[in-house]
């Protein structure tokens, strides 16, 4: 799903510039034998908040689903200000088919974020973690749910040990997280196809190599072992087109990074859907700006898989994914 290109540094927009981006995301399944029935769930529509506006979105499915189901607002977090509900699309195919092609086309305006980030002014990480413990009597924080283990990010004591050197007592949480990101970036090697989505996290940690998903899961796991809320961001990364030409169609890939909960940090939104959350991209060791398009947020990959399905029949299948991102306008 990821090509080495997602390790390429993002295109550098002019500081403070918003970008108008067009993304095309193709997913193509080919089945050895006919699939008689298929139910699918897609997280392919970019999310919408103060920093990201979806101007157009289209989902083109071939073959045409017989029972298209309207988009659902799922996982509504009652009273939660932590995130706008992700938009999901369900569809099913009830006629035998040998292939499925899903093409998601989005046009998104992304504003720059975290311009005035002041890591040293972020709250001490240990106070933040302690405030989420039940006995402290602290008010309920919906973000606490992202400090718990999740299907792809189990609790691993080794991850705590890995994270601890970056988080001395009383250290500002963002400073610690930036250092942790730096270390992950330096100490792990990006190797396409070195893992698949079922590679357990402890193996990634042991072998010190993986792809963006793995690094996101590792960093999330390490932060959570300290009691800090961290979540998984599925999205796209604008990559530098080859000199003098348009971006290569399909050469890009889906990307994944991390959000850390650090309310009160200067430079991190204090209101709105993204209040308190800071994006961190351990694959590229950077704080995302306008070149990172966010699709969906979850505890880990399993909550926001771009496209999945349960099919009957089909035998062996092949899967091809192609993403292309293009700057329409920089302002």
């Amino acid at each position: 799903m990821n090509s080495p290109l997602d390790a390429v540094p993002e295109a550098q927009p002019a500081p403070g510039a918003a970008l108008l981006l067009e993304v095309q995301h193709d997913t193509h399944y080919r089945y050895a034998t006919p699939v008689s029935l298929a139910h699918h769930l897609a997280h392919l529509q970019p999310l919408q908040d103060e920093h990201q506006t979806v101007l157009a979105f289209d989902l083109d499915i071939d073959p045409q689903p017989e029972c298209p189901v309207p988009s659902q607002q799922a996982a509504q977090q009652a009273q939660s200000s932590s995130a706008a509900p992700p938009v999901q699309q369900f569809f099913s195919l009830t006629q035998p088919h040998r292939h499925l092609r899903v093409r998601a086309s989005s046009r998104v305006r992304v504003a720059p974020r975290f311009k005035d980030l002041q890591p040293s002014q972020s709250p001490p990480w240990d106070d933040l973690a302690a405030g989420l413990r039940h006995s402290s009597g602290a008010p309920y924080q919906a973000a606490a749910q992202f400090s718990y283990p999740s299907p792809f990010v189990p609790r691993l004591p080794a991850l705590r040990r890995y994270a601890e050197p970056s988080f001395p007592a009383g250290a500002p949480v963002v400073q610690g997280a930036l250092q942790l990101m730096q270390r992950l970036h330096d100490e792990f090697s990006y190797e396409a196809d070195s893992t698949d989505i079922d590679t357990p996290l402890d193996q990634v940690l042991e072998h010190r190599r993986g792809v963006c998903q793995d690094f996101a899961h590792l960093m999330i796991g390490a932060l959570r072992m300290l009691g800090l809320p961290a979540r998984y961001v599925s999205g796209y990364l604008l990559t530098q087109p080859p000199e003098g030409g348009p971006a290569l169609l399909g050469a890009d890939a889906t990307h994944a990074w991390v959000q850390l909960w650090c309310p009160g940090t200067p430079g991190v939104p204090s209101t709105g859907a993204a209040a308190g959350w800071l994006d961190l991209d351990p694959t590229n060791n950077r704080v995302p700006g306008a070149g990172h398009v966010r699709l969906a947020l979850g505890r880990d990959f399993c909550d926001v898989t771009p496209l999945r399905g349960v099919i009957r029949g089909g035998g062996q299948h092949t899967l091809a994914v192609g993403v292309s991102t293009r700057v329409l306008q920089s302002s």
Binding site: L37, Q79, F90, H134, S135, P139, Q145, R308, V310
Partner: protein, 867 residues
């Protein structure tokens, strides 16, 4: 423990006789049998008095031993089983193949374990239990309503978020969604035990698909039979109406989502390999709802349907025994093949009612108990009437500080479910809590009361835990089922678990009030009920019935062939006949491939036939009698909600009886002298099974498929026999060239009596053709089988074009051959025509079987995969 029975005395009271057998209970616990003085408790004194009069303690012991044996026999006879998991198998639960007619059980099916004596609960105790349970059930429902809405409990810190949001039973895709009808829980089970002070305490609660309701019902039937008088005298409450309540609550809610159509309710089971499959089938039969597996259901356009032999039928209510996270592989556990992809969409859309609604699994965490008292105060201002065993969640630093110094009398439990059934592994509690405090919960140990069980000539005290059930009425009210599933530990100090050798007790709840004598079975039905109770036949059930028909017929044929073959061996018969018999034995599976024919080596042939008979797994290549019996049993096993207990019992005892009859020393082959009577007996049993299938089953579409299966198998059997007997270089060299061959073939097709009565010259091939091919009145002639097959095909469900296409595979009339065509032809030409007909019909039968399968069954099969 030393124990001496009281001296026999004709004057001794019954109570004294019973008490004389009682071993002392741990004085630090409550004794259910005796007062502290040693006298029987009043209820037990009545119980003793109502037992059949015996004069001595010894006679009493004998009587109880006998009854205990009867209880066990009844459980055997009714086939009440319980699947026991090995740890490894438990981890792989759900990954097991679930093909109804095939597949091999990964776990051991054990006979259900039921004790002779009931646990008796007196009215005052029941009043305490009942009030406590009602309050708790209502509280849990209120809690779920809050969490699906305003989540006050989280915001006010009354329930730690980690107990909800970290629990895998909290289903994120359903957050913020109220279930259709607004009801979350329909049935909740509470495991309770009595402390040394006589009070009842809550140990655990089950909110997903609590088990035990079916076993409890069967326990009651069996135990009451033993002690009918005591049951009357003690005024024991009946439990049937609570089952009716459960069903009618669900039906009401289902009716609301069904709108104008008739609501359809099903019982969803994980399948034959689940721990409590017996009771799923038992309950489905009792409640009159179809038993379905995930593969029998499908979601189309946000609605749930059942795949039936008549096409997709809407389903509006699901009584489920499948745990939450297995229910929908699209949005929940991806490795589950047990659920229904899309089910969550249907439930969010409000088109189907699940009982219980999904997403209550987190309430099963022991840690929740620590917070329920505060939650009860918050909602109602009332304390909880029934206490839970004192509980400390280690994730609460204050709670942990409070107990960390006093762990000796506490049990450390896992806050969250772990994979498999393994007990939680942790090193030192301090270390475990340091690593992940949220994951651990401490509970005080409760010295459970001791209930008497009868065994080895003594009343033995055993720690007892009672599971009681609350049933919702759908209008905000709750009813406690007046009974329970009591389990006792296998030893005085063991833990209570049916998986770990525990055993169950019927639970008698006494009342001072009126008795509810409602019975589920005889009731006046409305016209609507009749429509509703016409159960649709799921594709899987249809397929199993089809195979039940085929295997029954196939087994009958092979048993007859085995008898004929073994009886023939010592006789002088012409070579072509011997050759035909060995060919037939080979092609029917009686002899393994590659074995010398009867002509080449009669001894080797006989040995391999004898060796194959009892080989249930066809390990030596012979698909012989035991193999077919096992296949028959598997098909019947999957149909337990439809077959009468008699038929199922007979099917099981055929296999067991045949194995027992042939069992001998390992390298010793059974002799024909031993085998032949066993075959005769088996033949009679099979005739009885066939009789039940023909005469005692409702003639719905399922029955029709069973019959079509049987007839297809018979068509193949007759055609095969005809082919083998007529086939040779020349007619004279065929088995039918001799009187012995003709008679043998006629006998194999069970038509010898008619043949002898009707025809004088037995070697007349035309006579044979008339009886075995053309005669429509002979149920074993080709024309007779085809006539019935055509009749049954016409009555199968589906559009007329489809049925016509099926019929087109068969000759339009008769056997496709007429007497005119045969008249005047010489034997050779008749033989050729017969053989051609046999080959053609054999292939028609295969085509028909394939078409029927494709048309009626295929949708239920094929494995789902996640991509």
């Amino acid at each position: 423990m030393p124990f001496s029975p009281a001296p026999p005395s004709p004057l001794a009271s019954e109570a004294a006789l019973l008490a004389a057998h009682a071993l002392p209970a741990d004085p630090a616990t409550w004794d259910e049998l005796r007062e502290p003085s040693g006298a029987l408790r009043p209820a037990w004194a009545v119980f003793a008095r109502e037992m059949p009069a015996v004069a001595t303690a010894q006679a009493l012991a004998q009587d109880l031993n006998q009854r205990r044996a009867q209880v066990q026999q009844r459980i055997q006879a009714d086939g009440v089983t319980h699947n026991v998991f090995t740890e490894a198998a438990a981890d792989q639960r759900g990954a097991v193949g679930l093909n109804g007619a095939g597949g091999v059980a990964a776990n051991a099916a054990r006979p259900w374990s039921l004790e002779l004596l009931p646990l008796i609960i007196e009215p005052a105790d029941w009043a305490q239990i009942s009030a406590g349970v009602l309050q708790r059930a209502a509280l849990l429902e209120q809690l779920l309503v809050d969490l699906a809405g305003p989540q006050q409990l989280l915001h006010r810190g009354l329930l730690p978020p980690a107990l909800v949001l970290r629990h895998p039973g909290w289903l994120r895709p359903l957050q913020g969604h109220r279930p259709p009808g607004g009801q979350h829980l329909y049935v909740v089970a509470f495991d309770i035990a009595r402390g040394a002070d006589g009070r009842w305490w809550l140990a655990a609660q089950r909110t997903q698909g609590p088990s035990g309701l079916g076993y409890m019902l069967h326990n009651r039937l069996v135990v009451v039979q033993q002690f009918a008088q005591a049951f009357q005298q003690l005024r024991v409450q009946r439990i049937a109406s609570a089952y009716r309540q459960l069903l009618s609550t669900l039906e009401q809610q289902a009716a609301a989502v069904a709108g104008s159509s008739t609501p359809r309710v099903v019982l969803l089971t994980p399948g034959p390999y689940s721990e409590t499959y017996f009771e799923h089938a038992y309950l489905a039969r009792y409640l009159g709802v179809p038993l379905v597996e995930g593969g029998d259901l499908t979601v189309r356009g946000e609605r749930l349907y059942m795949k039936t032999v008549e096409g997709l039928e809407p389903v509006h209510g699901v009584l489920r025994r499948l745990d939450d996270d297995w229910c929908d592989p699209l949005e929940l556990r991806a490795d589950s093949t047990l659920g229904v992809p899309g089910l969550l969409q249907a439930t969010r859309a409000g088109t189907v009612v699940l009982a219980n609604a999904l997403g209550s699994g987190f309430l099963e965490s022991p840690a929740v108990q620590a917070y329920l008292p505060g939650i009860a105060q918050h909602f109602s201002g009332q304390p909880l009437l029934m206490p839970a065993m004192p509980t400390w969640w280690c994730g609460d630093a204050q709670a942990w500080q409070q107990v960390r110094g006093a762990l000796a009398d506490k049990v450390m439990r896992s806050t969250y479910p772990r994979g498999g059934r393994a007990s939680p592994h942790y090193g030192h509690p301090e270390q475990a809590v340091h690593e992940d405090a949220d994951a651990w919960t401490l509970q005080a140990r409760l010295p459970m009361s001791r209930a008497p069980i009868w065994g080895d000539g003594a009343l033995k005290p055993r720690p007892a835990m009672v599971r009681v059930y609350a049933i919702a009425d759908g209008k905000g009210g709750w009813q406690v089922m007046p009974g329970g599933m009591t389990r006792v530990a296998p030893s005085e100090d063991g833990s209570v678990s049916m998986q770990r050798g525990g055993t169950s007790l019927d639970t008698w709840v006494m009342t001072n009030g009126p008795l509810d004598t409602y019975s589920m079975l005889p009731q006046r039905l409305q016209a609507d009920d009749l429509v509703r109770r016409r159960r649709p036949v799921s594709s899987r059930t249809g397929e199993n019935l089809f195979w039940l028909g085929r295997y029954t017929e196939r087994t009958e044929q092979i048993v007859r062939l085995a008898r004929t073959t073994l009886a023939l061996l010592p006789l002088e018969v012409p070579a072509p006949v011997r050759l035909a018999v060995s060919t037939l034995a080979l092609r029917s599976g009686l002899a393994p491939p590659g074995v010398p024919t009867l002509l080449q080596s009669a001894t080797l042939f006989e040995r391999s036939v004898l060796a194959g008979l009892a080989d249930a797994t066809a390990a030596q290549g012979a698909y012989s009698i035991a193999y077919n019996l096992a296949a028959l049993e598997r098909a019947a096993q999957s149909l337990r909600d439809r077959l009468s207990p008699k038929q199922w019992g007979l099917v099981r005892s055929m296999g067991a009886g045949f194995r027992a009859a042939l069992a001998g020393s390992a390298d010793d082959l059974p002799t024909p002298a031993r085998v032949l009577p066993a075959l005769d007996h088996l033949g009679l049993q099979l005739a009885a099974v066939t009789g039940m299938q023909t005469d005692r089953m409702t003639r719905d579409h399922g029955w029709r498929l069973l019959t079509v299966g049987r007839l297809i198998e018979r068509l193949q059997g007759v055609a095969l026999r005809l082919d083998v007997f007529v086939h040779a270089e020349s007619f004279e060299k065929s088995a039918l060239g001799s009187v012995a061959g003709v008679e043998l073939l006629v006998d194999l097709l069970d038509s010898l009596i008619t043949f002898r009565a009707r025809y004088q010259r037995h070697e007349d091939l035309l006579a044979l053709a008339d009886l075995l091919v053309l005669d429509e009145t002979n149920p074993r002639s080709l024309a007779g089988v085809l006539r019935r097959l055509r009749l049954e095909i016409d009555k199968l469900p589906g559009p007329p074009e489809g049925l016509l296409a099926l019929r087109a595979l068969l000759p339009a009339q008769g056997a496709g051959l007429t007497l005119e065509q045969l008249q005047g032809a010489d034997d050779k030409s008749v033989a050729t025509q017969l053989r051609n007909l046999a080959l053609q019909l054999s292939s028609s039968a295969s085509d028909l079987a394939e078409r029927v399968s494709g048309h009626y069954f295929t949708p239920a099969h094929g494995l789902d995969q996640r991509v």
